[in-house]
Structures are given as C-alpha cells and as structure tokens.
C-alpha cells in the first residue's frame, strides 16, 4: 500500500465524512466536465471548427449531438466549448479575487476615508445589474477572450471586497489582533499572519459560488455576442446561433449547449453550498 496515498486519504477522511450529498454531487459534476474538456481530443475525432459532415443533422452514432448549420460537429463543440468557458470564467474570477481581496483587506483594516471611498464605489457597482455592467465594458473593449475576462472580472470585484471588508472588521476587533498590535507587529504582518488565514475558508466558498455566477454572466455575454468571436466554440454563442433554427425544430442546436451551462453552474453552486454547510457547522461547533 502506498503510504503517501494512505496519508492523504486519512487526512481527507473526516472532511469527506462531513461532505454532504450536495458537495459530492457538485464535485462529481465539476470534475467530470473539467475532465471532459481537458481530454476532448481523445473523445472526439472531429475538430470543433471544421465542417465535418452535412449541416443540421440530428444526433446519430456518427455525430452524438448532431451537426450545426455549418456542418460542425456539436459534440466536439460542446467539449471544446467547455475549455473556453472554464478558461474565461476561472481567469476572470481569479482576477477579481486578486483585486477584491486586497482592497477589502485595506479598507477593513485601515478604515477611515479610504474605506469610505472604496465602500461607496463597490456598493454602487454591486447594486448595478451585473450583465449590463459587463456588457458596457465588453462593448467598449471589443469582443475577445481577454476582454471578456476583464469585463467579468470587474463585475465581481465588489463581491470579494464586501465579504473581505466585513470579515476583516470583525476579526480586527478580536483580541489577538489588538494584542499583536500592542507588541508592535507591523500592519502587513498582522494582515498576512492573523487576518488572511481566518478569511481563507470564506474566500474559498465565495470563490466557488462566484464561479457559478460568472459562468452565467459569461454565457450571457457570449449569447449577446460580446465574448469570444466565432468560430471559437463557446456554449453561449452556440446557443445564440442555434436560436435562429429553433422554429424549424432543430432542437439539438440549443438543447445541449444550454444544458451544459446549467450543469456546470449548478455543479459549482452545489460545491459552494456544500462547503458553506461544512463551514457553518464548524462555526456552530466553535460557539
């Protein structure tokens, strides 16, 4: 028996025991979709952006999800589209986390005028309809993958900011930070050694839930034509393309891409919900 593997299993065991049905289901969905998009070249012989057969063919053994109006294989587009969606969404949420978390820390830790200014900007942005904000940014920057990432990242900065700021405020008022200050620890040290570790679990939960939301925003942007330009495979864009053929009853053009969007978003939301349950249980035990 591999000792290293056994060790990891033992460390994870109590955690997995706590894991609810939601967390397991969510992880299963997310891991499956990630695996499918990584291994796409092994799973399909067709390229997603080359005409490989007759146009508008229904699902068959040759084309599992049929072909679109250009004769592209839909199954291949779904697999490779997963890559696009995951790249855009994960980069965007990581970016907004990297901006939102430090801003929230600064705002919550130092308070005063800096906090006032940041807070009002972030609260205003938070109140604004996210898709319309992303749309405005993407429209100005022009449709491309990088611009879509920027547009989505900007929209979600306030999510991290508000959460981190609030928690920093409450942790700061706890005794041990005061004690650390009294013995002359430097601000940066206090933030990194005392505050950030306490925030980490919540940040992870917010991050997963945020990915779920970003998936829907990305889909919205690309559905409206403001994400990756064609012919790059992307679920939202495919859905829009398929919409034109809906009246004629070509259901496979829309059914699959939209279903994948829902599945992936639900997967991440389930993971977030499951993690949140564990977190609040832990919190309840501490009390």
């Amino acid at each position: 028996m591999n000792i290293g593997f056994e060790l990891i299993r033992k460390m994870l065991a109590p955690w997995l025991k706590e894991a609810s049905l939601m967390l397991k289901l969510g992880l299963a969905i997310v891991i499956t979709i990630i695996a499918l998009s990584i291994t796409a070249p092994l799973l399909t012989q067709y390229s997603p952006i080359i005409k490989v057969g007759d146009a508008l063919r229904p699902p068959s053994t040759k084309h599992l999800m049929g072909t679109n109006n250009l004769g592209y294989d839909m199954f291949s587009r779904i697999l490779y589209g997963g890559r696009t969606v995951l790249t855009v969404v994960v980069s965007a949420t990581l970016l907004s986390m990297c901006i939102g978390v430090p801003l929230g820390l600064i705002s919550g830790y130092y308070g005063r005028i800096v906090d006032r200014i940041f807070s009002i900007i972030m609260d205003s942005m938070y109140a604004f309809p996210s898709l319309i904000l992303a749309l405005a940014i993407a429209a100005v920057l022009g449709p491309s993958m990088v611009n879509a990432i920027i547009a989505i990242a900007v929209v979600y900065i306030p999510t991290y900011f508000r959460m981190v700021r609030g928690q920093t405020l409450s942790i700061k008022s706890l005794l041990y930070v005061e004690a650390a200050k009294a013995i002359g620890a430097r601000d940066l040290r206090i933030i990194i050694k005392h505050i950030l570790p306490n925030l980490l679990p919540t940040i992870i939960v917010v991050f997963t839930m945020n990915i779920a939301d970003a998936i829907l925003t990305e889909a919205g942007l690309s559905f409206l034509g403001f994400s990756v330009p064609p012919p790059t495979p992307d679920w939202g864009a495919d859905l829009r393309a398929g919409h034109e053929y809906l009246l004629a009853g070509y259901w496979w053009l829309v059914a699959f891409p939209g279903f994948m969007i829902m599945l992936l978003a639900a997967g991440f939301a389930l993971v977030g919900e499951g993690l949140n349950d564990i977190l609040s249980l832990r919190g309840a035990e501490k009390r």
Binding site: A139, G220, L247, G249
Partner: protein, 338 residues
C-alpha cells in the same frame, strides 16, 4: 411620524452620492478606459474620417474633465443627449418608449418568482432538514443555475413549436394595436383601462412564457432566502409564545411569514438588479421590445450617446428602486422608524 419623515429625507439624500458614483463609473468605463468605444464598435476597418465625425458628434474629442462636466450637467438637466442615428431623437424619449415593455415583463416575472419562492421557501423552512427540504434546496440551486435563454428556448420549443399553443415572441399581435392609444405603455393595464379585453388577453398570452422564464430562474434565490428566514423566525420565542396562546398553526405561520418577509424586502432592491439582468436576456430570447433589446440594437449600430444614456438611465433607475424599497421597508417594519 416625524421620525419616519426624517428617515425618508436622510435616505433620499444618501442616494445622491451613490448615483454620482455610478455616473462616474459609467463615465470611466465608456470614455477613460483603454480602448476607444467608437472604434471598437464600428470596427477597425471603418474610415478614420467617419470615426472622427462620430466622436465629434458624441463630444468625445474634448479633454476628459470638460467631457465629464458636460456629461454630469447634462444628466442633471435631464438631458441624456440625442441619438446619433434615427433622426437625432432625444435619448430619453427613446428610453421612455421602451421602458414600459421592460417594466411589464419585470413585474410579471417578479410575481412569478415571488409566488414560487414564497411557497417553496416556506415549505422548506417548515420542513427543514427533511427530504422535502433537501429536494427544494436542490430546486433552488438548479433554478438559479438555469440559463435564461436556454429555459426560454425550451419553452418556445415545447409550447410554441411542438404544441403551438402560445406565441414565442413579441409583446402583442401587431394587428391588434392599430388605432389603439396606450395610456401607460403597460399593455395589460392599458387594455383594462380602455376596455379592450382582447388586447389584455393577447398581451397576457405573450407574457406567459417570458415571465415564467424570468420568474423561475429568479425564484431560486427567493426559495433560499425565505427558507433561511423561516428557519430563523420559527425558532424565535414569539412563535412559541403564539402557540402558547392557543393560536392555530395557520395563524402561527402567518406571524412567522410576516416576520420572515421583512429581511426579504431589503433583498428585493438588490434582486431588482438581477431582475434587470435577467430581463435583458429574456427580452433577447423572446424578441421583447424593451430596454435590453433596445440597448443591444444600439450597441450594434454604434449609437454611442444612446448607449451611454441607456446605461446612465439603468444606474439611476436601480438607485431609485433601492431607495423606494428602503422606504417601503421603513413603512412596514415599525422598528426602523427610530
């Protein structure tokens, strides 16, 4: 009552910096951010003279501070600029043309979501930690994860393409409105006012699929919220005290619901922003002639002033709705009137 008036005044004044900040953010996005909106929208291949002309018409060739002052002053005067196309109509007039369609859709979508959310959330809260509860929690996550255009298209496929019992797009059959003068622009309401029940019926038929789509997707958030609040309220002392007075379970539930509803109301302001986001996607899916369709169309035609005006309008609209919700909250919850 004096306290309530003070609260309303203070809350209203608080809206001003928020609107101001939003306007500044919009300005920064549309004008200061790297990337030139006009070029990005027209495309690199457009002739430079054409781009220059458009920039001048939109006032984009002046220094930023001058642009900013003009922009803010214009909005304060209620002047949202004029459209660069379509005969230079005032942007505000065009917005007001499209606003009722969005409001009508939003209202019906909201009603659907709140009905579903209240029922599922209450049941989940009362039956918390049972199988019913787990099922409803799953429902709320799936509803939230549904992509609006996809759900809309599935409805269109089933009810429009296969069953052919409901219209799949538009607000009303065009023939019906010939020679009909609207009052508010909300077709259902106007139909009732003018006694045109054929219009009411037709408008409602058109509303069913879009508002179901919007409502179902948004209901998930309410399910969660109502559930959490119900669990919280049901564990409070006054519920036990109400039972100790011999009240029937139905009356106890009424006490619980009323108290659970208060925090939900505060969320509605924020939910409204999500509702608008949803409305943009719903409108596009159902060719609904509202603000979302309008904005996208103008983005396509590079009508820069209209785009800016519409986004500014959204910003102000959202702030005002938040204000109204907060005031409503104060009216309903007696404890707020400090």
């Amino acid at each position: 009552m004096a306290a309530l008036r003070t609260y309303i005044i203070v809350r209203t004044l608080m809206t001003i910096p928020i609107v101001f900040t939003l306007l500044t953010i919009v300005f920064i996005i549309l004008r200061v951010m790297p990337g030139d909106p006009i070029t990005a929208m027209v495309g690199m291949k457009a002739p430079p003279e054409y781009i220059e002309r458009l920039k001048e018409e939109a006032g984009l060739n002046k220094p930023y501070h001058v642009q900013y002052v003009n922009y803010i002053l214009g909005i304060i005067r209620g002047d949202f600029g004029r459209s660069l196309i379509w005969g230079k109509r005032p942007v505000l007039a065009e917005i007001l043309d499209h606003l009722p369609a969005t409001i009508e859709l939003t209202i019906f979508g909201f009603i659907v979501s709140i009905i579903i959310g209240l029922i599922t959330g209450t049941v989940a809260g009362v039956k918390c930690y049972t199988k019913v509860d787990t099922t409803l929690r799953l429902y709320s996550i799936i509803a939230y994860a549904l992509f609006i255009p996809w759900l809309g298209m599935m409805f269109q496929l089933i009810f429009g393409v296969y069953l052919k019992i409901l219209p799949i797009g538009g607000r009303i059959d065009p023939g019906l409105t010939v020679g009909w003068n609207t009052v508010t622009g909300l077709y259902v309401l106007d139909g009732i006012i003018t006694g045109r029940y054929d219009i009411v019926l037709n408008a409602l038929q058109h509303l069913i699929l879009p508002s179901l789509t919007l409502g179902i997707v948004l209901s998930g958030a309410y399910t969660r919220l109502v559930r959490a609040n119900m669990i919280d309220v049901l564990s409070q002392d006054f519920i036990r005290a109400a039972r100790a007075r011999g009240l029937s379970e139905l009356k106890v539930l009424r006490h619980a619901l009323k108290n659970a509803f208060i925090p939900i109301l505060t969320m509605m302001g924020l939910q409204f922003a999500i509702l608008l986001t949803g409305a943009v996607l719903t409108e596009t899916t159902f060719s609904w002639p509202g603000m979302g369709t309008f904005l996208l169309e103008r983005i396509k035609y590079v009508d820069y002033t209209t785009i800016q005006g519409t986004i500014v309008f959204f910003a102000i609209f959202v702030s005002v709705v938040n204000l109204v919700v907060d005031i409503l909250y104060a009216l309903i919850d007696p404890r707020i009137r400090y």
